[in-house]
Every structure is written in structure tokens, then in C-alpha cells.
């Protein structure tokens, strides 16, 4: 995989993450579950920021960033706070795997950026009640 392909693949993943976090945020309640709502809103903003940064990085290479899909399959039922939290956790695990792949496919400053993003995803998993892993971002 070339660095550009790795960036494009990661961007595709961030498009999906932004979409899913948007859905999750819309299905949570700011008044009934303020902590969860804040987590989801923060996750949405973080992934949106990373999506935009990836878009810039790809433009900087003179390429056209991959576009988002019209919609994405939702990961099962999203009715209860536990289901919303679990879905967000799965998004973070997948995204961490994507950033692991980006570390693998890049070098220099792009790799450093991916390292930071992977680290953030790993810690966000804990905020979503995930457990620490020995090798986050390696297998998802």
C-alpha cells in the first residue's frame, strides 16, 4: 500500500466514523445521559477534525480525497445507552486499526500524525468503557 493509498483508506474510515458518530449523537439524550452525550459529541468533533486534516493531507499530495458514501450500515440496535456506547467503542477500535495501518503505510510527519491519532483512539476506548489492550490498533 502506498502512503497515498493508506491516507485514502484512513479517510474512508473517518468518513464512516463521522457518519456513525452523528447517528449515535442524534440517538442520545443530552438531558437524560449528559455524560454519554458529551462523549459522543466530542467523538464526532474529533473524527470530523481528523477527516478534515486527512483531506488536507491528500490534497497536499495533489490527489483527490475519497468521497464519503451516501450512508453506512448501522451496527445493530441503537436504542439504549449501552448500545450507543458499545457502537461508539467499536468505531474507535476500527478507527484505531485504521491508524495502525496508516502508521504502517507512511513515514515521517505523516506517521507521527497517525501515531498521535492511534493513541487518542486507544484512550477514547477507555472513556467508552473499553478495557486496556496489549496491542491496540494492531488487529482491528
Amino acid at each position: 500500500m502506498t502512503p497515498l493509498e493508506a491516507l485514502q483508506t484512513t479517510l474512508a474510515g473517518e468518513h464512516a466514523a463521522v457518519y456513525l458518530y452523528g447517528v449515535l449523537g442524534a440517538r442520545s439524550s443530552m438531558s437524560a445521559q449528559p455524560e454519554l452525550y458529551e462523549l459522543l459529541v466530542d467523538g464526532f468533533r474529533t473524527h470530523r477534525r481528523r477527516r478534515d486534516e486527512l483531506t488536507e493531507m491528500i490534497h497536499g499530495r495533489g490527489a483527490e480525497p475519497v468521497a464519503a458514501e451516501v450512508s453506512y450500515d448501522l451496527p445493530g440496535r441503537l436504542a439504549t445507552p449501552a448500545q450507543l456506547r458499545g457502537a461508539a467503542l467499536r468505531v474507535e477500535r476500527r478507527t484505531a486499526g485504521g491508524y495502525g495501518q496508516l502508521v504502517e503505510g507512511t513515514a515521517g510527519e505523516e506517521r507521527r500524525w497517525a501515531l498521535v491519532a492511534l493513541d487518542e483512539c486507544a484512550v477514547r476506548q477507555l472513556e467508552l468503557r473499553g478495557s486496556p489492550e496489549q496491542f491496540p490498533g494492531l488487529t482491528h
Partner: protein
């Protein structure tokens, strides 16, 4: 990345296994070390081991450094839990993580390279709270060092393995109380 499946088009890239990473690391060429009295690469660039490292295949040198850094941090952790038994439980996650990471790296290190640390063990602070803070400082330093090694690695797979270790350490430090640094 393996994004959720779009409702139309787009394929997902497969993830990789740790075994796959290690297989790649192990396939790196290793230059012969005959005549080198290799010891601790942490000491300084003047030691025989440190002088030998640049002569190794680039990522083998990175692996040797990573093992040495983790072992040095592990030694700090062990000394701390021996002095303050009450810290053994809260630091157990870090200890298990170090073991897993060393297991993952050790096969990438040539047999003749001794990565045991010869650094003078740091004095464990008298109070558990101070000792815990000292562990956090050591872990943060190791994280920074592993980050730099991940950036130096020429093998993308090996860089990914090191990056994963950095992230795992970040998780453990977060569990300890938001002291990731």
C-alpha cells in the same frame, strides 16, 4: 482501515495480526556480530553494543533499543512493587503489558545481544504516592522513546507494532489517572 460497511460500494481493508507483524520483523536480515562483546545498548553510544547497533539491519537495531528501553522501565516497576507491595495491584496492568511487549519483540533481537539493563537502578521513593509518580514518569519517558523508535523504523509493520505499544502504554497511564503526559 476497516470502516463500517457502506450501504453501497467500497471494500474494507483487512486487519493484520500480531503474528504477521512478528513474522515480518523476524524476516529482517541480521548482520553477523562476531567479535562484538555486546552488552547494554542503553548505556551510551560508546559501548560495544551501541556501536554495533548501527551496523545491524536498521530495524534490528530499533528492536534492540526498544527491548532495552522496556526492560529498563520494567526494572523500575519491579523495584517499585518490591518496595511498596500495595502498588502491585494498581501497577499490575503495566507489568503485564511490559511482559507482552517484550514477548513480542524479543525474537527480533539477535541472540548475542544482551539487552539487560546495566543502568544503576533508580532509588524508589519512600512514599507510595511518590513511587507511583516516579513510575508514571518512567513510563512516559519510555512512551516518548518508543514513539521515536516507531518513527525511525524502516519496516512499516514494525513501526505499527511499536505504535501499538505506545498506545497501550497510553491506555495504562490513563487507567492510572490521566497521567499520560
Amino acid at each position: 482501515m476497516t470502516p463500517p460497511r457502506p450501504t453501497s460500494g467500497s471494500s474494507a481493508a483487512p486487519g493484520i495480526s500480531r503474528r504477521g507483524v512478528l513474522a515480518a520483523a523476524l524476516s529482517l536480515p541480521v548482520l553477523p556480530l562476531a567479535g562484538c562483546a555486546l552488552n547494554n545498548p542503553l548505556d551510551s553510544r560508546r559501548t560495544p553494543a551501541a556501536e554495533a547497533i548501527p551496523a545491524l539491519a536498521p530495524d534490528v537495531g530499533v528492536a534492540v533499543e526498544a527491548v532495552a528501553r522496556i526492560r529498563a522501565t520494567e526494572a523500575t516497576l519491579t523495584a517499585t512493587t518490591q518496595r511498596h507491595a500495595a502498588l502491585a495491584a494498581p501497577l499490575a496492568g503495566l507489568a503485564a503489558m511490559h511482559t507482552a511487549h517484550l514477548d513480542a519483540l524479543i525474537d527480533a533481537v539477535p541472540d548475542r545481544v544482551d539487552t539487560t539493563t546495566t543502568q544503576a537502578p533508580s532509588t524508589v521513593p519512600e512514599t507510595p504516592a511518590a513511587a507511583r509518580r516516579a513510575v508514571v514518569v518512567a513510563e512516559r519517558r519510555m512512551r516518548e522513546e518508543l514513539t521515536e523508535l516507531a518513527l525511525r523504523a524502516q519496516s512499516g509493520l514494525f513501526a505499527r507494532l511499536l505504535a501499538s505499544m505506545v498506545a497501550a502504554t497510553g491506555q495504562q497511564l490513563a487507567v492510572l489517572g490521566g497521567e499520560r503526559g
